[in-house]
């Protein structure tokens, strides 16, 4: 069991890192290098199977699937990162406040977080998107709305752990102001745990965004968001496998890469596993 800390970065991990970097680069710049215009429809060339001309075939409106996949990486991945960044900030603000203030506010906020987890997220998002109008932005809001409790609970737990450490108790006795404790003790110590959670959540949020696009309350046509691509091709699932398979695989591979990295980070960074080992 001693190999937990000395875990070697294997070929799998390197492959995942390589893939994740490649996907991030594609998300940033992929839109500029697409072989075809990802939005240009050509009904006469619809549903062509993969070929030399269209490596990943064309969709129901004759658009090049590879080009849409490349351009769509930006929408899918950047909106995932936006959701995570916002829930990270909001969730941690709530969680850390809750831990510091304690008492009834702590109770209230944490009970609220528990209730929130009881919402059926898809049905909630349906209502939410209907209120804001269907758009990728609405889907992002709906996810932020339903995701924050995870980070609130996690950051509260970490903060409480840190606050119970003897050196923090000492600092309190010396009259160190709260903000200093947050900045110098909580944030650095929480960083490791949060970065693991963030990496693992990338796949979960990405699945959620594509799920919302799939039921029609996320990205709107002609945006090549990956979930929306599956939704747009679902009617052809029986006759033109590539229109459903390709964007699904893209989601799957991306999610897998980030999961592997998250898992690796957990082994490398997680203080709980490190300490126990």
């Amino acid at each position: 069991m001693g190999n937990l800390t000395s875990y070697p970065k294997g070929a799998l991990e390197w492959a995942a890192i390589f893939l994740a970097v490649a996907i991030l680069i594609m998300a940033l710049f992929g839109g500029w290098f697409t072989p075809y215009d990802p939005l240009q429809i050509d009904f006469r060339g619809k549903l062509q199977p993969p070929s030399g001309e269209h490596w990943l075939g064309t969709d129901g409106s004759g658009r090049d699937v590879l080009s849409r996949l490349m351009a769509g990486a930006q929408l899918t991945i950047l909106s995932t990162l936006v959701v995570i960044a916002v829930v990270l900030v909001i969730g941690c603000a709530i969680g850390i406040t809750s831990a510091f203030v304690g008492g009834w506010l702590d109770n209230l906020l944490m009970r609220l977080a528990d209730i929130w987890l009881g919402f059926p997220p898809l049905i909630l998002a349906l209502g939410f998107a209907a209120a804001l109008g269907s758009s990728l932005e609405a889907a992002i809001w709906a996810l932020i709305f339903s995701w924050w409790p995870n980070y609130a609970r996690l950051s509260r737990m970490i903060t409480n752990d840190i606050l119970s450490e003897p050196f923090v108790a000492g600092a309190t006795a010396l009259g160190v102001p709260t903000w200093r404790k947050v900045v110098f003790y909580v944030i650095p110590n929480a960083f490791d745990v949060l970065i693991i959670q963030v990496t693992l959540d990338i796949s979960a949020v990405m699945l959620a965004i594509s799920g919302l696009s799939f039921i029609g309350v996320g990205a709107q046509i002609p945006a090549p968001e990956w979930g929306a691509m599956i939704a747009g091709g679902r009617a052809h699932a029986g006759s033109a496998w590539w229109v459903v398979m390709v964007p699904g695989l893209a989601i799957f591979v991306t999610a897998l890469a980030f999961n592997i990295i998250g898992d690796m980070l957990r082994r490398e960074l997680d203080p709980t596993t490190r300490r126990r080992a």
Binding site: M1, N3, L4, L12, R111, L112, D114, I115, L117, G118, F119, P120, P121, L122, I123, L124, L126, G127, F128, A130, A131, L200, S203, A204, L207, S210, G211, F214, I215, G227, I230, R234, A237, G238, W241, V244, M245, G248, I251, F252, V253, T254, A255, L256, N259, I260, D263, R276
Partner: protein, 335 residues
Amino acid sequence: MAYILQRVAFSALSLFVLVFITFLLSHVVPGDPAIAAAGPNAGAEKIAALRTEMGLDEPFVTQFLIYCGNILQGDLGTSWFTHQPILDDLLRELPPSLELVVIAMVINLAISLPVGLLTARYNGTTFDDIVRLFAMAGAGLPIFWTAILLQQSFAADWQLFPVAGRIGFEYRAFEGITGFYLLDSILRGRPDVFFDVLSHLILPAFALSLLFTAVGVRITRTSMIGEFRKDYVTLARAKGAGEGRIMFRHVFPNGATPSLTVFGMQFGWMLGATVLVEEIFGRPGIGRYAVKAVTQSDIHGVVAVVFVVGLVFLLANLAVDMTLYALSPRKRAEG
């Protein structure tokens, strides 16, 4: 006892907040149920009359209080579109969905618990690595995508399972007692129906459970690893107890308890996610009912679905909490 009461009271309060937020949300939604209910070319007068009749003219707070009063009397209202008591609608739609979730949960547990235990025992081996890879892969599968792929391959192409629906054509006249066909077929002594219903459940349940199973394996593995490290295991090993005995008599029951909390929550989340699977596999159920209610702005229908799904979520968690409470000597001492 105080602990139990506190939990129940908290659950009731949660449910109230849940209903309030949903009610609020559905009123922000721009759809006008009166226009939808009146039909095309109704004219302004008729729409206005319907709006009054449906109670949409009342201020929001009044509407909410009336609604809460009705709920307390067990009345979820009458749907503006099905014209049936919503409770009746839900009692019809809930069993097929719960049946799906229960089977998905069974698949989840049947994989998560043993695989979690074994990977914890053989932590660090190639077997562990492979399972971990599978778990990570499973956590990256969009439910709707898996559902489409499973349906197109196993059902449409290879014809190993039915494509869609809840019960086979030849059994369409089968009348249930409880609405849970698996249970009903046993009660009626119809093994043929039982297996037919089960075959309709396998693919959708599998599609629904994959994502949750991936998490389940991971959680179980972590808590089992923690358990294997406990002193009593070292002690038992030192005393020469067999590995099998250690695993199944000590580690498994103790290590499974913390993951129960997660499985409890998963039950509720699965029920909320049935919509994706029900649409694709053409199954009746609460998810499809919810989508229909949302698309019609059937506010009472939407709120009722959230209420019921929330209720199931809380009950599942409550049940898990109670079980843990009953099992844990520490909690008993505190209570």
